[in-house]
Amino acid sequence: MRPFEYVRAATVEDAVTGGDRFIAGGTNLVDLMKHGIERPERLVDVTRLELASIEEADGGGLRIGSQVTNSALANDARVRERYPVLSKALLSGATQQLRNKASTGGNFLQRTRCYYFYDTARRCNKREPGSGCDALDGFNRIHAILGASEHCIATHPSDMAVAMVALDAELLTRKSDGSTRRVKAEALHQLPGDTPHHEHVLEPGELITHVDLPPLPDGARHVYRKARDRASYAFALVSVAVVLVTDGDAITEARVALGGVAPKPWRAHRAEAALKGARVDRDVFRRAAEAELEDARGHGDNDFKIPLATRLIASALAEAAGLDAGDDR
């Protein structure tokens, strides 16, 4: 690990003027620093900021401080009751030990688990722009089928962020000049194009202070499903977050987001368009899923993700609509 200077920020003001790199739970950053992939010169510890609470927001939503841990967020009674898809997504990720450290802000900004990104002996455009991408012709079982480019096919590994995108969450940030802004969770991450090292829209030194969850329509049904190589403690091969509102037999609102398939938490707009106003019906669900995967492209080892994602979306929708018991996993 490269030497770095460590400072603990006492206030948000201190944090944003104290340096341009933050450490929260450290569960991703420390790991990447050990590998020599991240080499910050100065780290501002933001864990002692007064950003560790969840509060009622005007209009019926919740405001989550960026230092709320993944376990505290998943356990919160209001989140369990009003945003169960978020609790379930969080609890599907990592382990209790990791969730106890991981923060809401840090979870959004965790980096890919692409093997070649981690292996500094291999070529990786994300780690070393312009060097090439060894995943294209390598083992790419865990890689992206949507939104990738010829320069990078890595996925964003978060479970939490998938639920946040389905919930239309918004991040609140503060920059070093003191200004603040709101960034939609869906607009936080960027597709790789020819600059896969630019992963998100935040500027260096821009601190995530809060995440706002807007209220949901009454009667919204929530499902989070995650397919992976072992039952627990594994990243998603494909995950699906669904928030479904129905009126009798008609779908009034459907929100679908996918994890494990794209460089960012993927809002399934095509599936949503196919669902809105349609009837609650297994064929409708399957066709909506197929519409989302229409442009999907496999790279060999990950071809299986296309049918898997199609089936998982359809089955999560059926579960949300009450057609399927689901396997509750």
Partner: protein, 170 residues
């Protein structure tokens, strides 16, 4: 720089901020109870409790834990050295072979019992369900212990030991 470990203050002087909590315990203080497996958050051998909650000490920077109460496996027994009910259960059920993962398993399971007592859900807990230590299913125990790998595969006995301790505490 000071750390409070198992109720005792330890002075680490001018600690290099790169030092993980795990390395501070083992390399700097010679407290060998906590084990290093993968050093990357992937096995759970290094599990300790920070302010009563389990974490992986290999991904924690020691400097970030000044002022926190840290409990290692050595702090689980009573002051007079009596093993905890969980430690007894591990011995009774032979919940280990080589024992390398055991310190982490014990810290993790100690925390698990408290989490269930506080009503904290796992991914398997149905929304709105009440949790009770006496009715914790094997699947719940397995899910809640999934952050602790065992190369020897003592899993069946670990689940049995955790179940016994859960029943004893309920």
């Amino acid at each position: 720089m000071k750390l409070q470990i198992d109720g005792q203050d330890h002075d680490l002087g001018d600690l290099d901020p790169r030092t993980t909590l795990l390395d501070a315990l083992r390399e700097r203080l010679g407290l060998m109870g906590t084990k290093k497996g993968c050093d990357h958050g992937q096995c759970g051998a290094c599990t300790v409790l920070v302010n009563g909650r389990r974490i992986n000490s290999c991904l924690a920077l020691a400097v970030m834990h000044e002022g926190d109460a840290i409990t290692t496996v050595a702090g689980l027994e009573a002051d007079d050295g009596t093993p905890s009910a969980l430690q007894e259960a591990f011995m009774e059920h032979d919940a280990f072979q080589c024992g390398y993962c055991t310190a982490g398993q014990l810290c993790s399971a100690t925390s698990l019992l408290r989490e269930v007592k506080r009503g904290e859900p796992s991914v398997l807990t149905p929304m709105g369900a009440e949790l009770s230590l006496s009715e914790l299913s094997d699947d719940e125990i397995r899910e809640r212990m999934s952050g602790n790998l065992c190369r020897c595969g003592a899993y069946a006995n670990i689940v049995a030991a955790v179940r016994q301790a859960a029943e004893a505490e309920s």
